[in-house]
Amino acid sequence: MAEIKVLIVDDETEFAATLAERLELRRMRTRVAGGADEALAIMGEGWRPDVVLLDLKMPGLDGLQTLTLLKQQDSALEVILVSGHGSTSTGMEGMQKGLFDYLLKPVDIGVVVEKIEQAYLKKTGSAQRGKD
């Protein structure tokens, strides 16, 4: 599998940075953003992630609002919500907005990697179908 580019958007920078490092060790390329603005700026630089790990509760724009903006930037982008706050209704709303999956913190690295790979396969599969 090719290197997957993962953008981690979370205001908990310690969490984001550590998770990024662990994903790097699993041969993924990562960038970390502290919020929606930083995430959009990174994408504005031309760095296009395959999968975004997005926190739900953040200062400024929250996860669902950020999801909308990211999808506007790149509709093929797959986004996984990773939050400490679980709510079925939030999950349902996210799914309606094109969310790939919803994970509750703290997460097992194995589960995260598995979800990222699934999301990536979905993205590349749909991209492949788009090319066909």
């Binding site: 969490f15 060790l25 400490g84 709510s87 079925t88 509750l104 913190k105 690295i109």
Partner: protein
Amino acid sequence: MIFRLPKIEKVLFEGRTSRHRQNLSAEGRYRHLRRSLLVTMLLITLIPLAGTSLLSFFQYRQLIRQEAINNLQWHGESTQRSLEVFLDKLKNALVVTANSYPVGDLVQQKNLDRIFTELKNDHRGLVDLSLINPEGIQVAYAGPYNLLGKNYRGSAWYNQALARKVFVSDVFTGYRNVPHFVIAVTKKEPGQNGYWVVRASIDTRTLEDFLASAWAEQIDELFLINQENILQTSSWHWGRTGETFPITFSPIRKGFNLISEQSNNGKVLRAAGAVVGTTWTLVVEQRDNAEQKSWHSFRDQLVIIFVITVLAAGVLIINISNALAAKIRAADEDRELFLKDQEHTNKLASIGRLAAGVAHEINNPLAIINEKAGLLKDILKLTRDFPHHDKFITQLTALESAVERARAITHRLLGFARRMDVSLKSVQLNEIIREVLGFLEKEALYRNIKLELHLLRDLPPIKSDPGQLQQVLLNIINNAIDAIDKDGNIRITTQQLTAGRVQVDIRDDGPGMPHHILQNIFEPFFSTKLGEGHGTGLGLSITYGLVKKLGGEIYVESDEGLGTTFSLVFPIDQQQERG
């Protein structure tokens, strides 16, 4: 000991003392309510009844009294008129005699005797007839007494006769010493000074006979008195002629009037009228007559009817007040129960929100710990020659395990807070039980716990949420397994109840629970599981919330040392039930 926990018992937080005090004050409140109802209804019923009875009482009494007075007056007046006619006849006869005969004829004994005999034949009661000269000396006398030559110049009646020309005297005894009255008429002899007086006397017995003949059943007695209240005829009640009649009253000038009503020793109606042409007053009295007897009879009947009605109304009203107070009390208790239930639900919801907040706040640092530990482990795995490599790996694994435990707790807290919509489907309760047991069979086997199923074959399907129903059963059966720990039995029974309900009983033969634990078993964060890694205290609280959400009820019975039974009751169709 068996503790049956009806709905209210599950949500009681008060201590025994305060609850006892509350019961006492409630008891007083309902006693007061019952008393108020009783008094109000008694007043509403008895005031009109008493009013009507009193009105009848007074109106009938007034009617009776008026009738008695009318009777009295009618008899009095007719007797008075008869007496006046009787006296007028006598007076007229005497006036005619005085005017018809010259003094010269009248002084002749023979003539006077003849005239007396004629008058006596026409007028009963006449005792004698005499002539008195202008000097007051009785010069001629016809009658039974020897009164010739008697001087009357000093007599009151003689002087009154001279002054009035015709005069009827009071009753007196005089020279003859026998009660009588006189009728005196003056006579002027031509060519002479002064007046002659023709006098007739009448025995009092004549008057008494006259009054006796006027007596009727409606009256008690009749008698005559003079202006000084001296009896002119004898009275059964007041004494003989000449005695004083003790009742004083204003002089009566016209007609026949009521003069007094006495109530001592029975009612006495008394009416009187002046006898025209005399100084007499005719008095008529009535004691305890027929009307009064009729009145007493009416009064007694009225009192009996009133008392019976009051007693009957009293009994009825007491019963109605008790029934009403009981109904109000039952309604209040239902409302209280509902409020307590609501309070419990609200408490769960508040704790749910708190739990969600806490879980969220804890999850973030927990995630950092998890990631840091994970990263360290990752790095260690890459550097095999690191000193104490294995020891570090062991420590980090323990750290991850602790994080996992904390995660389990926070996730359960979030599960508690989650407000999922109930999705109703037709559910076979027996199947759900078998599915749940599928999860737990290995655990039970490992602990040597025997699972016995007594499931009703034709149990009707119920409308419920299968996921939440599984959660409920899983929690309770899991609790039963934990309670037994090792070597025991769990018996699960299903049955159909009347009124469209089904029941599941889960009985374990574990150690059972004492009363204080049983009282709090459905409270959030209440746990009996000791030691690390056991119980958040939310399991049964969540279960309780889920059961309520599914429209059901949950009960628990426990015998200390024998085991515990959880009973779940669900409606077959909860929408219909709610509707």
